[in-house]
């Protein structure tokens, strides 16, 4: 009797234990990642935050995607065709595409997703402006009718950044573009485990067993997305050093990014592989064109004369292996790279700067530099700019504020006395710069444009021509003209491009080099 009771007790205790710890019942292959930022907002259309975009790439699929050379490749699309008059585009979807709720992906879903995206994304907006209609030909085919040719159609659909086109179910995509989505239903290779989402702390994905990957090997964000692990846990570390230490000791498997300084901490560690990240960052100086003194092109040119990318890169990055002096506004190592118009000789020209300031009639008014105090990539820029300005006789004051306050302030064109600014910096992931239409630095519509309020109707005209142009050689010529003008008028000053590094444990393989951290293809021994 007693034995039976004891056994019963043991059995029930065991059952209780197993019930409380279901994960222990089967061992799941879990990958632990440390991202570059904390995920809070789940809707990739409402916000252009990189972390939300990265999350979206895991759970949603895209019609096209860029490969490692930034060329658009088909992803969800099986085949497509363009009408002879270049005014209609027809797309056919692949077989087997389905959402996480079991529903198949249809042409209607694509149309609704494109419509939502086109309300927010700069390239999408341009597409919407020339679209006369989008309709579903059948369940897997849809057609877009235009009133004039749109050269960057595939480029737009394959956009890897701000904002990419993610395909969502029609019922979700039909919600207004300002309504923040909370339901995450995509057709991507991972499912989002909503119940384990702790905003700002950690979030979890599980493999979508029903996903049908393409046959090709993965290449950048294109190719076949084959998931080799069962579970991906993403853990946010507010302190990068802690994340690095965790990787060093095997407490996490993969670190999305670290800079050149931090790389040296892992250099001796045999259990860790370090790689340069494929997509560099580019930092820039932006002027407020709407307010004096930088409304005067000569004053801007004066600053341009003393800025050398070398100095900025040495001061902020340090390691020459990790940075590159890059003259191209649209990225070095991309199809549109060009050195046309680049004024930086590697040596600051103080005399020229002072002469220009005199010509401009600059009287020594103090300017205001604004900078976000809580973002590491911005930290070295403002002090260095201040020092340079001092050398040519422009006194300045640095005002630090928190990121969202910085964004708000930077978006205002008002005079400083009314809450404005004169000079600010911006740091971009290069994939935001590669598209002449999407590159925000070339938004030249004046007061209503992207911060900096660059005003140049000729550049806007050039962009319009680019949009209608389908011949790559002619497109390149237009881009060169844009760049030359941008340097002459000093739209902004590029401060160099630099690479971050990614690192992962030696027992991790198949991590796809791409500007967006994605976990398909990754295996763990």
């Amino acid at each position: 009797m007693l034995t039976n009771r004891r056994e019963a007790l043991a059995l029930s205790a065991g059952a209780l234990f197993a019930a409380m710890n279901p994960a222990r019942a089967q061992t799941k292959k879990t990958l632990r990642l440390a991202p570059h930022a904390a995920l809070r907002v789940l809707d990739p259309v409402v916000t252009n935050a990189y972390i939300t975009r990265n999350h979206a790439f895991m759970v949603y699929d895209t019609l096209f995607a860029v490969d490692s050379h930034y060329r658009p490749q088909p992803q969800m699309v099986k085949e497509w065709s363009v009408g002879d008059d270049k005014l209609s585009w027809t797309f056919v979807l692949r077989e087997g595409l389905a959402f996480h709720d079991g529903q198949p992906v249809t042409a209607e879903d694509c149309i609704a997703s494109i419509a939502r995206w086109a309300k927010k994304d700069v390239v999408g907006l341009r597409l919407a402006a020339v679209t006369t209609g989008m309709r579903a030909v059948d369940a897997k085919t849809f057609r877009i009718e235009l009133k004039e040719p749109f050269g960057p159609m595939l480029e737009g659909f394959a956009r890897p950044s701000s904002i990419p086109l993610f395909i969502m179910p029609k019922r979700i995509a039909d919600l207004p573009a300002d309504k923040v989505l909370e339901e995450v239903v995509g057709s991507g290779p991972f499912r989002f485990v909503q119940s384990e989402f702790r905003p700002g702390v950690s979030w979890v994905y599980e493999r979508n067993d029903k996903y049908v990957p393409r046959a090709e090997p993965p290449d950048g964000l294109a190719g076949g997305k084959v998931v080799k692990v069962d579970r991906v846990e993403v853990v946010w570390f507010p302190s990068k050093q802690t994340a690095i230490n965790a990787l060093a000791k095997g407490e996490i498997d993969l670190l999305e990014n670290m800079n050149a300084d931090q790389r040296s901490l892992l250099a001796d560690n045999k259990g860790v592989t370090i790689r340069r990240r494929p997509g560099p960052n580019a930092s820039t100086i932006r002027f407020n064109w709407a307010q004096p003194p930088f409304d005067n092109v000569k004053v801007r040119q004066a600053v341009q004369a003393v800025v050398t990318q070398q100095d900025y890169m040495d001061a902020s990055i340090g390691d020459p292996e990790s940075y590159q002096v890059c003259p191209a506004f649209f990225g070095c190592g991309t199809p549109l790279e060009t050195a046309v118009g680049f004024p930086d000789t590697g040596k600051p020209n103080l005399a020229k700067a002072k002469a220009l300031l005199q010509e401009a009639g600059y009287k020594g008014e103090k300017i205001v530099i604004i900078t976000p105090g809580d973002i590491a990539s911005f930290a070295p820029l403002a002090p260095l700019t201040q020092q340079l300005l001092r050398q040519i006789g422009i006194p300045s004051e640095i005002q630090t504020m928190e990121w969202s306050a910085f964004l708000a302030r930077r978006a205002k064109a008002d005079p400083v006395a009314e809450g404005g600014w004169n000079l600010a910096h911006a740091v971009f992931d290069r994939i935001d710069l590669i598209s002449p239409l999407g590159n925000l630095n070339f938004d030249a519509r004046g007061k209503g444009a992207y911060t900096g309020f660059v005003e140049d109707p000729e550049t806007e005209a050039l962009k319009g021509r680019y949009q209608r142009e389908t011949d790559p050689a002619k497109q390149k010529a237009i881009v060169e003209a844009m760049q030359k003008r941008a340097y002459e008028l000093v739209f902004y000053i590029p401060l160099g491009t630099y690479f971050d590094y990614e690192a992962f444990r030696s027992n991790v393989s198949g991590y796809v080099p791409s500007p967006v951290m994605v976990a398909w293809g990754v295996d763990k021994a």
Partner: protein, 293 residues
């Protein structure tokens, strides 16, 4: 000698020895503090005009002959940063301590004397104490923007209730004294009574409390800097020097150790000075400080 006599005389001896030792420690702390303050005040003289020069090709150099404390992530001389940083940090500490003392004393005097104020004011003080000081400071500075005024105000806020309670308890015990009663009886206006007759009794514990507040304020500024809501980068303070060092700590530990050491030594010196003052200025009065702090 009986056990009691032995105990008493040994207690008396140790009390005297303690007083002497405390004084020596306090004296030493005072001198150390003076040295640090002087180094901060004379920072420009010691380090020259180009103290904050960014040297792009001298990043993260370890301490050596040219740079005594090494260089930071922008190639700036850490020694110069620490010395100049001391100015801001010490200034913030001093201002916050004085502001806290002033506001707290004013409120404490009024609330101890005018009893009808007491329930309201003390509830408000309780409310202020219930909010964690650092959180309030971080919230305030990150919302309004970092400036000397904001940071001092943010740090002062959390210190006020302690001073208020201290002063209030002194007022409560003193207001029944005969000389106060006499003054009231003579028709002297209440504010004058407060300032002339009651305030002097508060001075001793106030000095002690202000010293401790000075130390706490310096530390608070450092924590604010560490959490990323301190002074802007062109205004080095120990807080934001530490914050910048945080990003490269393992690669270049001197960027944290140098300012951290200065900070710790300063705060220690101030605290020890406070202890010495407290022991000097009648331990009985300091009990009020201890119980209400």
């Amino acid at each position: 000698m009986s056990a009691t006599e032995r105990a008493t005389s040994s207690a008396r001896r140790t009390h005297f020895v303690e007083a002497l030792l405390a004084n020596r420690v306090a004296l030493f702390s005072g001198i150390l503090l003076l040295a640090i303050v002087l180094s901060a005040v004379l920072a420009t003289v010691i380090t020259g005009d180009d103290a904050f020069l960014i040297r792009p090709r001298q990043r993260l150099r370890p301490p050596g002959a040219e740079f005594w404390f090494g260089t930071d992530a922008l190639g700036r001389d850490v020694f110069a940063l620490v010395l100049h940083g001391g100015r801001i940090s010490l200034l913030v500490g001093l201002l916050a301590a004085l502001a806290g003392a002033t506001v707290g004393t004013a409120i404490g005097l009024l609330t101890g004397y005018f009893r009808w104020l007491d329930p309201i004011v003390m509830r408000v003080m309780d409310g202020v104490m219930a909010i964690p000081g650092i959180l309030f400071a971080v919230a305030l500075v990150s919302l309004v923007g970092p400036s000397l005024v904001t940071i001092v105000a943010a740090i002062t806020f959390a210190e006020i209730p302690r001073v208020t309670r201290l002063v209030r308890s002194v007022v409560l015990s003193v207001r029944e004294e005969s000389y106060v009663r006499a003054a009231e009886g003579l028709g002297i206006p209440p504010l004058l009574v407060l300032v002339r007759h009651i305030l002097p009794s508060c001075i001793a514990p106030l000095i002690v409390q202000t010293t401790y507040m000075f130390a706490a304020a310096i530390l608070s500024e450092a924590v604010l800097g560490f959490l990323g809501v301190g002074f802007p980068p062109d205004l080095p303070s120990w807080g934001n020097v530490l914050a910048e060092g945080r990003a490269v700590f393992q690669r270049a530990p001197w960027t944290i150790i140098a300012p951290g050491l200065f900070l710790a030594v300063t705060v220690m010196a101030v605290n020890l000075l406070g202890d010495g003052l407290r022991d000097r200025l009648d331990p009985r009065l300091s009990r009020a400080a201890k119980v209400s702090s």
